[in-house]
Symmetry: C2
Subunit: 560 residues, 2 copies
């Protein structure tokens, strides 16, 4: 192996793309550059249009992704101070499920003459939530028919995924649907742009595309959803699968022109931001659960065995690393709950004190929270402000805080919210364990890894050793690892991860006395969890009352 | 009746006393003056002492009460611009249960040589909560023995009341207890100071002194609580009872000197601030529930019938008006919950907006809350931040908010808290109704009556017409009514109330559409109420966990 070889990883996020240049020998990150999408998230109206989009829509403009290749990649190479000729491969990871409708050659429909004013011709971003009705019907029908693939997704597929979004387009703009020749994950579309070949990656095909044991939902099932939809897989979706770390093709002359990288170098099969982080954290063995903790948390873990874990997001053969069963779970709200609280629920005096101590509001609240004895706040919270992904899979759930007195202060509630997310994680860990997929180590990536109090709480609550990824560029580093493998510099991803991944092992260890103190609170959390999540419909009815109230307002109101 | 006759009412609160001069003919309030207690609430250390008081103690200095007579009464007369010779009577109302230990002549023990450094020689203010252990034992023993008086107090007597505080003194400072010849309600002690006679008023004797059907708890019961305590009633407590509105005696020369009022004028039997407000609001008939709504809410209502209402504070013969059964109930926290929220849970931007609109924070939040459709916030709260007095009688309960999302704003939670207190009131109203004591009208006194949104919510939630007392001096006006009756200007309190009381009838009427919208939320409230208040011990365990955490902190800590 030659110290002069480099790989480029590009992480496509919700608002920007980030390129990093990594040394193949040891994973050293030598240059980084970010490029913001010119159109960001399109939620209000299409570019150049005055027509408002309906609620819950979230679109993107695909040329914004090409711009990342044009700007961020050359800038990262320049920042690294390397000779571009020494770059041996490029790999990408993407948000998912983010879908691009294209012609047969990969041209996005919104770039086709006459379709620029059609919302369904644009990219549907992962957080486009306007296909909930379609998802509900898919789930109901699959449950009624006992479809074998349903338990692989914890019993429910999401409105964010390929079939719900595809069915929405079929039903709402048949003309655009008929013009569409391929319904492509953005993770694969960007690879198609780089190497000129459409290879469908095993990760999104499995987690978002319901590809299980080599088969998609049947034409009979699809036809029963909507007449005419039965050929959706054959006509729009099916495509040869590429394993993660495989070479999808060589960089085209056009893409070499955009990026300044050598013509023909390896382009890796596409990947997803969360999943690609596992090798970046050297965490690809069974029992190593990687949690990417940001506004929400995504959990990924490999295993040698296939088990049906209630409430998981999915289990996919080769979904994280080729040859292993990849499990995914998630918590819908984590950092965004802390952010919401800090923004909406903390009085002016705290802002003044934080500014005086030169702390962010989060640092300030965390410092005050760290002074509390476990349980001293007398509170318990449910971390369901954005619903519950795993293990209850119910987005009609909502937040709860119990135990307030007139002595309750913001730092008490803040700590209760931190703890609630840890308890939510423990429920996931225990559900995996109880299903025969034990968790031995908890490896954290993402912005929240910087909060030492939060990390210690997670170690104590889960009684697991906590390791922390030793890179601020987890996904991009993970992509660079895949680029190196696709270029042949390593035999496979686990081998590359050993050299190029970075982790600080067992940074936080559980303390038995603290863990025991949390056990008492966790028991109460479980009681609330099961009462509101399983036994009563209070939260569901409150949401129904809320929706009815909004409708009353629109129709004139019952008064206030 | 002569337009030149006046009555003086004096309301003794927690921090100050307030005198008002009222025209006997029509209740016109002509002059008001307030005097703050020099020593306020003694919670840290005795006057002139460095010795700290234990937690939960709350004492007062009785000469502070005499200072109100010396300063506020003459000032009110001067402000009224009347001739003091035209004043025909004076009456007082007091916080309760507030207890003064005295010699046989009414001298407070703390004024006796050699006892000024003994905490138990001082006045124990209503909110002295250090006798909870004694109250628990009284309740347990009474339940075990099936004492007939226990159901008259909804099944539990309070640590604030005469027997618990008396037993605490007996057990903690036997020497002071033995020096004490009388254990006197401050409501009666101040009357004793005015007229030189100790008359025990029927209201506090019944509600706080466990006097039922003419009898106190027996010597056998008391002796079983603590050996030697069996003679407590005979030795310290028993005293002839005076009915509310009766003349206790004539103003002594000394008290005439303090007040500047004529020697010998009528001094009425003592009374309690909440109960005396009912005639001030012309609300002394069966079915008229008066709610004095401030930091907490006290409900008082007369009835012709004796019923055992679960969770009421008490039912007393002549407890509000002589000749009627007086019922009392309460909500431990109302305005203080709103105050806590506004102070601790609303971000700087709201303070800026409120200041910009020249609104108090409460006015600002109320205006924003008023813009919401019923149920639009998607929230439900339990108003138990200070525990639940009626109907659950459990001070280990705590607050709860459910339904939060990342879109939840402070004005949403604020409205949910307003509504929660209305739902708590509805539980009380329905419990009275279900026990055979129907509520027909809801009359509000106290500072929260000024919040029009809150009042409309109460009318809609309870489906009762809401009347509002038309005086800012409810208790003092009520006392002046009693002074006029004691002076013989009216035959009885109800008659005087017709002329001197002031109320705006049916200011808020329930709206059926809104009431129906609240029904759906109330059903959810009841489900939470019963789950957390009756079926599970989650809140109780959280308080136990909290206390254990505080103890761990004191003993060195388990870490945080």
């Amino acid at each position: 192996m030659d110290g002069q070889q480099y790989a480029v990883g590009v992480d496509f996020g919700t608002l920007s793309g980030r390129a990093v240049v990594v040394r193949v020998a040891d994973g050293a990150e030598l240059g980084i550059a970010t490029h913001e999408y010119a159109h960001g998230v399109v939620e209000e109206r299409l570019p150049g249009s005055d027509l408002p989009l309906p609620p819950e829509w979230a679109l993107q403009v695909p040329d914004d992704y090409r711009d990342v290749l044009r700007h961020a990649v050359p800038a990262a190479v320049a920042a690294a101070g390397i000779d571009p000729a020494d770059v041996v491969g490029i790999a990408t990871d993407f948000t998912a499920c983010t879908m691009v409708p294209t012609l047969g050659d990969g041209t996005p429909l919104c770039e086709v003459d006459g379709l620029a004013d059609r919302p369904h011709a644009y990219v549907k971003l992962w957080k486009h939530h306007a296909a909930q009705g379609q998802a509900d019907r898919i789930n109901q029908l699959a449950a009624d028919r006992g479809e074998a693939w349903l338990p692989r997704y914890g019993g429910l597929i999401s409105s964010e995924w390929e079939f719900a979004k595809g069915l929405q387009m079929f039903e709402e703009d048949r003309e655009v649907y008929d013009r569409m020749e391929r319904w492509v994950e953005a993770a694969d579309w960007i690879v198609w742009q780089l190497c000129g070949r459409y290879v469908r990656n095993a990760c999104t095909a499995g987690y978002k595309g319901i590809l299980q044991d080599g088969a998609y939902p049947t034409p009979e099932f699809l036809g029963a959803l909507a007449p005419g939809f039965g050929s959706f897989v054959t006509d729009k979706l099916d495509q040869p699968i590429g394993q993660l770390g495989d070479r999808a093709g060589g960089l085209t002359a056009e893409a070499a022109g955009w990026t300044g990288l050598p013509d023909g170098i390896a382009v890796a099969v596409g990947n997803v931001d969360a999943h690609v982080t596992a090798p970046a954290a050297q965490a690809v063995s069974p029992g190593q659960m990687v949690a990417i903790m940001g506004t929400s948390t995504c959990h990924v873990m490999n295993s040698d065995v296939l088990r049906e874990v209630p409430g998981m997001c999915g289990v996919v053969d080769g979904g994280i690393v080729a040859g292993s069963w990849g499990y995914e779970a998630g918590q819908s709200g984590v950092g965004d709950i802390f952010g919401w609280f800090a923004e909406s629920s903390v009085p002016a005096a705290y802002a003044v004190a934080a500014a005086g101590a030169d702390e962010s509001m989060h640092d300030h609240l965390t410092r005050l929270a760290a002074e509390q004895e476990i349980g001293e706040h007398g509170l318990l919270a449910l971390d369901w402000h954005s619903g519950n992904r795993s293990v209850l899979v119910d987005h009609e759930l909502s937040g709860l805080v119990v135990g307030q007195t007139l002595a309750t202060r913001p730092e008490h509630i803040y700590r209760a919210l931190l703890e609630a997310t840890a308890f939510g994680t423990r429920v996931i860990v225990e559900t995996f364990r109880d299903s025969g997929v034990p968790v031995e180590e908890f490896i954290v990536a993402g912005g929240l890894a910087k909060n030492a109090l939060l990390m210690q709480i997670y170690a104590d609550v889960t009684r697991l050793p906590l390791s922390i990824i030793d890179s601020d560029q987890g996904p991009a580093l993970g992509s660079a690892i895949h680029a190196a493998v696709a270029a042949g510099a390593y035999a496979d991803v686990p081998t590359a991860a050993k050299s190029m991944g970075k982790v600080r092992k067992s940074v936080y260890l559980p303390d038995e006395r603290r863990a025991a103190a949390y056990d008492a609170l966790f028991e109460e959390y479980l009681a609330l969890h099961d009462h509101f999540g399983r036994r009563t419909s209070t939260m569901r009815r409150l949401k129904a009352i809320r929706r009815a109230a909004v409708e009353r307002r629109i129709s004139g109101g019952a008064g206030r």
